[in-house]
């Protein structure tokens, strides 16, 4: 039974909070979405490629490693935010949730830089099938990060107004699940799209 059960949450017959269960069902469905995009990329990654758009040459691994590190650390900061709100340390929670949001914004900054470089180098969404599958996959992930940043900031401002006093830990727990999911999807994308490019 989760903490939410002590905050007036709605329970399923399994004894888990229905909102948390709903988030997990959503994440399971997201596996299908990202699985399809990742496997489509794998099928298309070497198709229709011509100079100068060779994946191994245009993908900036050091920059992407830096953005990966930022996203991994944002997963760390959000568990600290969750721990803080579970132990009633609201100031600490606000600091860590804001750190997480900034991490997400920095990640989006890296992605914007990468996309701009590619487009200026002649690789766009419709240049070839590699470009289409690459931008669809990483763009969909970036969209999820953007939604997550908005959600994080909403929680931050809500806490400033005292809006997390009821069910606060459950709200943060649900958001944290979404954020970690975005992180694990990026772990797969970083390996499959970027590091496998030289093979």
């Amino acid at each position: 039974m989760s903490e939410a059960s002590h905050e007036g949450g709605h329970h399923t017959s399994l004894g888990v909070d229905s909102r948390k269960l709903g988030m997990w069902i959503f994440l399971a469905s997201e596996c299908l979405l990202f699985g399809t995009l990742i496997f489509t990329f794998l099928l298309y990654r070497n198709k229709g490629i011509e100079e100068p758009n060779i994946p191994a040459e245009i993908l900036d691994i050091p920059v992407t490693t830096a953005s990966t590190f930022v996203l991994l650390m944002s997963s760390f900061s959000i568990v600290l935010a969750l721990h803080a709100i579970q132990t009633g340390k609201i100031k600490s929670f606000q600091r860590w949730i804001l750190t997480t949001a900034i991490g997400g914004i920095v990640f989006l900054g890296f992605q914007t830089y990468e996309f701009t470089e590619f487009v200026q180098g002649g690789l766009g969404l419709s240049t070839n099938v590699f470009g289409s599958s690459f931008f669809m996959l990483t763009g969909t992930h970036g969209f999820h990060v953007a939604i997550g940043v908005i959600w994080l900031l909403a929680l931050y401002f809500s806490s400033l107004r005292g809006g997390l006093k009821v069910d606060g830990a459950l709200k943060v727990d649900t958001m944290a699940l979404y954020w970690h999911f975005v992180d694990i999807i990026w772990i797969v994308i970083f390996t499959v799209v970027y590091l496998f490019a030289v093979v």
């Binding site: 269960l21 496997f39 760390f76 579970q86």
Partner: protein, 110 residues
């Protein structure tokens, strides 16, 4: 559910979550594994083994985040089953795509 009070805490419910110290250790491990991935990427001699090495390393990172940060190691089993179901369905979609490409796509397979 473990009773190790050094690495886990009990909150309002009966679920024990890792302590900030455990979260920090996981963060360090994730950072080190990412650095190893980058190092392996640049070693020419390991090129033939790149895919299996990176697959193992990224699977390890995936598992650490899911087990400790998403608390699947400590939470209700139904959540783990839902995630596994999603992953199985995703691989099923991949197999369907492979079959589709094998029989009807002008580019052929990988």
């Amino acid at each position: 559910m473990s009773t190790d009070s050094q690495t886990q805490e009990h909150h309002a419910g009966d679920i024990s979550h890792p302590t900030p110290k455990t979260y920090a250790i996981i963060a360090v491990i994730l950072s080190v594994v990412t650095a190893i991935e980058l190092w392996v990427y640049y070693i020419e001699e390991l090129r033939s083994l790149l895919i299996p090495i990176l697959a193992v390393l990224s699977t390890g990172k995936f598992a650490l985040v899911v087990m400790f940060y998403m608390h699947l190691k400590f939470d209700h089993k139904v959540f783990s089953r839902l995630l596994v179901l999603g992953i199985i369905l995703a691989f099923g979609t991949f197999l369907a795509l492979l079959t589709l490409f094998k029989f009807s796509h002008p580019f052929g397979l990988l």
